[in-house]
Subunit: 119 residues, 2 copies
């Protein structure tokens, strides 16, 4: 039962493509992540995923278009939709998604994290 | 499949204590609201509720303490916990909660909204 300061939580890690859990509610998790470079194409068969940009710019490539998110903008990737996050410069994002969501969907990659920490 | 710009959505309404729905995912809704003054004491028996302050300061009174949220801070009110949001000056918040969540829990009040619009 404590509040969360997003900026303060973001000072606690610096690695990219490694989300941390900062809240849980109704079976969903709130995560923070720092992204830089390209992630892999993947999808989440059963989970919608929300990306909210806290700082910087994130491109979410879809198969038919690219969503460009600046600070204060969010996008919900519907379940089953292939997407590839790309950050030309470091971007800080907040994620909302079910606790069951696998980091890179059913794809495996050196960037894949199987277990995420609470901070 | 469109992105949402939070500031732009906030220009679309000005009334207080009347959340608008700006996103849906996994049975949850993302809402934006402008708050000023005091809401009523209420609880949500089955739903955890997240308050994220986008602008201003929000006090969330609980029976045993008060949470003070500034911009960039969030708090999750667990299900069953009585709370009363108070905004001395206007505050803009993002809410994240199940689509089933009643505005003022089981309490009825002139501020209660039974149906929320998507914007």
């Amino acid at each position: 039962m404590e509040k969360v300061n997003i900026e303060e939580k973001l000072t606690k890690f610096s690695d990219h493509w490694h989300p941390r859990i900062v809240g849980e509610l109704n079976g969903q998790q709130v995560k923070l992540a720092k992204l830089k470079g390209e992630f892999i194409w993947h999808e989440h068969a059963d989970e919608d995923e929300l990306f909210l940009v806290v700082k910087g710019q994130l491109k979410i490539e879809l198969r038919d278009k690219t969503i460009i998110l600046n600070e204060g903008e969010f996008f919900i990737v519907p379940k089953g939709v292939e997407h590839k996050p790309v950050a030309e410069e470091e971007v800080h994002v907040m994620l909302f998604e079910p606790a069951s969501t696998a980091h890179s969907g059913k794809e495996r990659h050196e960037l894949t994290k199987d277990k995420l920490d609470h901070i």
